[in-house]
Amino acid sequence: YERVGADVTMKCGSMDWDAAVTWTVNGTDIDESHLNGSYLILKNVGLSQSGQYACYEGSSWHLKYQTFLRVGTPPKEPVLMCRSNNYPKGFYCSWHLPTPTYIPNTFNISVVHGTKDMVCEKDATPKNRCHIRYIQLFSTVKYKVTLTVTNPLGKNFTTLTFDEFAIVKPDPPESVVAKPVPNNPRRLEVSWQNPSSWPEPESFPLKFFLRYRPLILDQWQHVELSDGTSHTITDAYAGKEYIIQVAAKDNDIGTWSDWSVAVHATPWTEEPKHLTTEAQITETTSASTSSFMAPPTTKICDKGAVVGSGAVAVCWTAGLVVAAYSVLFI
């Protein structure tokens, strides 16, 4: 194992310095310019110089020496994160290196609670993760987690100190569903479920944060809900497609989850009615002057086109509406 940038000298086993030898790397001969007598000199090694190096006696072509060179770097300070998404059962810690070392690394993790050592059991998958069960609950004593990473070229470590409540962060809510409400052009019914990883929602209830906006706008609306797993949005813009997300947090402690997967929904809009012949003719003339919000179908009772966003137009008879349009636009 050698560090990137190091100068490497390889001796051909027990051969004298002035012996005639041939060096190969991965089966390919190495040019004599890299030799100092029978020593192979590699200056400022790079990652591409990793490989199988072999040295053969000049004439007999006997293999005298062989080694596998691995070029890498010592580990930088690892990145460590601990979180409890299954409070009050326990928590997990996961880690990674900010830059690869290109050689094998070993990770060692220690968890101390006050004076007590705790065992963090390594997970099979993902590999750089371990979990630990809480022995005590409601403790003010902090946890100290130290992660040490070692490889043949060096070692490094990082420490995290936290208290029980601070790392509680549930997974996002699951199965978020948003549906239009029949006959209600400004409503959307949203429902979701507690994340399945949260073990005891009755004793450790979650509260929720809902955010929604029409696709065409950037500003989110927010609603915080202290209980229940459903909510009806009552101020949706008629006919507009919405994007909706939900987040969760323990009622008392910890931080908000990430946002759930986004769902899309459009509030209910009325089905196109059958038009009379007269209405059809007059409707065609006014159709071209409808506002940009009009949906593409030529509906007589077009709520989207009437009086700006969100207004609910009461459907009079077809003739009356058409008459109003004619007055406004002709």
Partner: protein
């Protein structure tokens, strides 16, 4: 204890539990605010580690999920009675130290003391519902602790408030456990005497 609750008992218990949970929530919010004020006004370092102070009930508990309802009530009651005395003492010390100069802190302490007393009362009511004898409060209590230096008093105060904040969270959880209806008998789980 009777094998099954009368409907009115079950209702009263649920009512007391939900009120208690709300009270615990408010208490915690107030204690957390008080902690910030206390740390600032007493010139302490918020991240200071305070060793377990004698006489301060520690909220940390092992096998919390295995506790019976009665255990929960008794432990909570003992804790809040202790906090009542500790907060009263803190108020006293605070008045001695600062007189009128720190009325805000004094008022906040008094408000929390009131909530602690109210909560203790709630717990006593719940125990009464279970036809449990309420443990009497010791007449004299433990001997008064030796006079602490001003700094030690402040650190102790920090420890008291921190543990109280933890207890407030724990108590809400305890009451939620108590309020859960048991599937078989209709009584809250764990309230039966353990054999």
């Amino acid at each position: 204890m009777a094998a099954a609750d009368s409907p009115s008992t079950a209702l009263r218990r649920r009512d007391l539990c939900s009120r208690g949970i709300r009270l615990a929530g408010k208490m915690r919010a107030d204690v957390v605010d008080l902690l910030d004020t206390y740390v600032e006004q007493q010139g302490l370092d918020a991240s200071a580690s305070v060793a377990a102070v004698e006489g301060v009930p520690v909220a940390a508990v092992e096998r919390w999920d295995e506790q019976t309802g009665t255990q929960r009530l008794l432990e909570n009651l003992a804790a809040y009675r202790a906090f009542r005395a500790l907060l009263a003492q803190m108020l006293e010390e605070q008045r001695e130290q600062l007189g009128e100069a720190d009325a805000g802190l004094g008022r906040a302490l008094a408000a929390v003391l009131l909530q602690v007393s109210a909560f203790a009362y709630h717990l006593e009511e719940l125990l009464r519902l279970e036809s449990r004898g309420i443990p009497g409060e010791e007449e004299d209590g433990p001997p008064p602790p030796p006079r602490l230096s001003l700094f030690e008093q402040k650190l102790r105060g920090l420890g008291v408030l921190r543990e109280l904040a933890q207890w407030a969270v724990r108590s809400a959880r305890d009451l939620r456990q108590l309020a859960k209806p048991s599937p078989a008998t209709g009584t809250a789980p764990g309230l039966a005497e353990s054999p």
